[in-house]
């Protein structure tokens, strides 16, 4: 190919790619979930959305005169709803999932028939003690009203618009991730798998704790410092992190001499560079499991980026074989779920900065908003019949 041809190709390539992109988008919009696609079709927005090729045109979209909020990521539609909140309000509310849910709900109420709405499992989960949900777009647009979001994480949310002290509209709903996200179980897990595979494996930035917050601790392995955090249900399930003894600037403990503390640091802080590969087995709906490999830090970063809070606990330590089993909870109280990770480390090479594997079974998005009493145990008189 001549230099002139190459120059021409370089000039026209961006336009060519843009045309290809537009034609693809015009053909059909792609959606993150089946429920979003259903909503777009019920509201007759599918073609309009597919015709939009940037965020500016998406912002022009309206439904029956009301402005819409439509977002895309990498060409995939991730949110459709009536615009109830400005960008500033969304940032101030600091819970984008709740804002998205209310916007989606407002559009569903406007665009769907009752029998269609029932498919979205919402009718019986939402309570409206004050006002009419049909007036939600009008009320949200009224700048004289004050908005308040109340959270009783991990159980319920309550949103209220008031004029002075008089409530105009009040909506309560459970902090159910499935409901707030509008995703079906396997859709949520597929998204999670995608995040674990695509998130960067770089360790999170290290910030040394103030030395006076560290407490000396002795174990059979030796002496070290501990940054005590919070406990979850049991005293041994904590977000503690561990630091080497004797350093002027605290350094995260990591090495084969301290396998349990090192594992805790890997999952709780995500700040340790390592060459570990997570051999993941993710439980899915229908007694199936997705199996895949990903850098351990990609997995940890994906879960921490989701807003999860990590807790670690040792289950077993076999000193003869060196095998460690542990559990990690990644808890998202705001969205009423947690990921439960069962960890198994049979080879401590990853603690020696060498490549190695760590087995992780994940039960993802376990709903916790419906748990009233995890320990409802009482003395039993049941006698086994042999």
């Amino acid at each position: 190919m001549s230099p002139a041809c190459l120059t021409s190709l370089r000039m026209f390539m961006p336009a060519l790619l843009l045309c290809m992109s537009l034609s693809a988008e015009c053909a059909s919009a792609r959606y993150r979930s089946a429920s979003l696609e259903q909503l777009a079709k019920s509201a007759a927005l599918d073609r309009q959305i597919a015709a939009c090729h940037d965020s500016a045109t998406l912002r022009q979209l309206k439904f029956k005169g009301s402005p819409l909020n439509v977002r895309t990521e990498d060409g995939v539609v991730t949110h459709i709803g009536l615009r109830l909140f400005s960008d500033e309000q969304t940032a101030a509310i600091a819970n984008p999932a709740v804002c998205d849910f209310l916007e989606r709900l407002a559009l569903m109420e406007s665009a769907m028939k009752p029998d269609e709405l029932s498919r979205f499992k919402l009718v019986n989960s939402i309570e409206i003690p004050q006002g009419n949900i049909k007036s939600l777009p009008k009320i949200a647009a009224d700048t004289t009203l004050t908005f308040r979001l109340t959270s009783q994480a991990p159980r319920n949310y309550s949103v209220q618009w008031s004029k002075g002290t008089d409530p105009v509209l009040k909506i309560t709903f459970p902090a159910s991730f499935r409901m707030l996200s509008g995703l079906q179980p396997n859709e949520t897990l597929e998204l999670l798998r995608g995040k674990m595979l695509s998130t960067k494996a770089a360790p999170r930035p290290y910030s040394a704790p103030a030395p006076d917050r560290l407490e000396p601790c002795d174990s059979t392995a030796g002496r070290y410092l501990i940054l005590k955090g919070s406990q979850r249900v049991l005293p041994v399930i904590t977000d503690n992190s561990y630091y080497a003894w004797g350093d002027s600037v605290p350094r995260l403990l990591y090495g084969p001499s301290y396998p349990v503390e090192s594992l805790a640091n890997l999952f709780v802080t995500g700040q340790i560079a390592n060459r570990a590969t997570a051999k993941v087995r993710m439980l899915q709906y229908g007694l199936t499991a997705a199996e895949f490999d990903t850098p351990l830090n990609s997995l940890v970063n994906a879960l921490l980026d989701e807003g999860c809070h990590p807790y670690f606990a040792i289950k077993t330590l076999d000193r003869d074989t060196g095998t460690i089993t542990a559990m990690v909870e990644m808890v998202n109280d705001a969205l009423g779920y947690e990921h439960l990770l069962s960890i198994k480390l049979t080879d401590d090479s990853i603690l020696r900065d060498s490549p190695g594997d760590i087995e992780i079974t994940i039960a993802g998005y376990i709903p916790i908003q419906n748990i009233a009493e995890l320990y409802y145990d009482k003395p039993t008189t049941n006698t086994p019949i042999i």
Binding site: V123, T220, E373, K378
Partner: protein, 345 residues
Amino acid sequence: MNKIRTLLFAILSVVVAAPAATAAESHVLKFTIDDGGSRLSATATQAIERNLVNLLTMMSDAQAKGSKTLNFSGIAITPEAIEGINLLWKHQPMRVRPQKQGEFPYIHENLLIMQGIGSYQIRNIPVSLHPNETPGKSKNSEISVNFSSTGTITDLNISMERQQYKSLMDSVESVQDYDNRLMLAHWMDQLKTAYETKNLDYLMSLIDKNATIITGVRSSKPSSKEIEFRSKETFDYYVYNKTQYGTKMRRVFQNNKEIDVNFLDQEYAYNAMVSVVGPDGEERPRYYMVWCTQEWMATNYSDVGRLFVLWDFKNPEEPLIMIRAWTHPDDPKQFSDEDFILPVD
């Protein structure tokens, strides 16, 4: 490993310096030696006793005097152990602790084989720690001391007290139990999803072949004239086996376009009478139970009731429903594990 327990009553009278202005105390050390089948030589035993007693005496004396440094002369100890003890001393000096006021200090301990033949440990030696950052305040703890095969001290650590250790072991068992309870939440969510997606095959795969299913429906019959129900509603209960329940649910799934189920206010417990041996060789509870409020909202029928679900965690990877029992909220009868004879095989 066959452990040969040799009880040595090596009673040593040790004079350690008491706190200033008080009389000296006698410490009687009593060792129970577990030598792991490799009998420790008398020379090594004497060296361990001598070095330990000298170390404890020296440290107790230094703490009483408020000394910031330690003198290890006359004690067979490695440089690494000296460095570790000195570091420890900077933060929290310690002394041997009498177990009861007014009684001779009495230490009853095991000599444990450690990390293969040739390394030993004595632990649970009661001490009082006197942290420098909290002058005048002390806290009770225990230390462990490691020895080489010739009785040279190789390390000293503040260890967990017996009760603390027991608590930790209990907690480790509790972690597995806690893990099971969270997985129970996962499986209850799977059950909800099976209903909502009307996936009969999956629903059946969650139910044990010998399961008992009790369901109820609102009765259309008028209340009895003789006995009037407090609630105007009456309910009929039916008992199904797995096959019968499958037939029923096939019909329910076909007749309802939409099914929405919520399991609210879930309460979890395990049956304490039946256990199963896990892959780690440890016994653990076999049956876990959930009580909850079930909201059933289908196209053609809706109700709210109390649900009792008992899961068999014999295979924790794929627990199975043994009992699913529904009752009306007004019915004083609430099912539990005590109503059923649970398999133990």
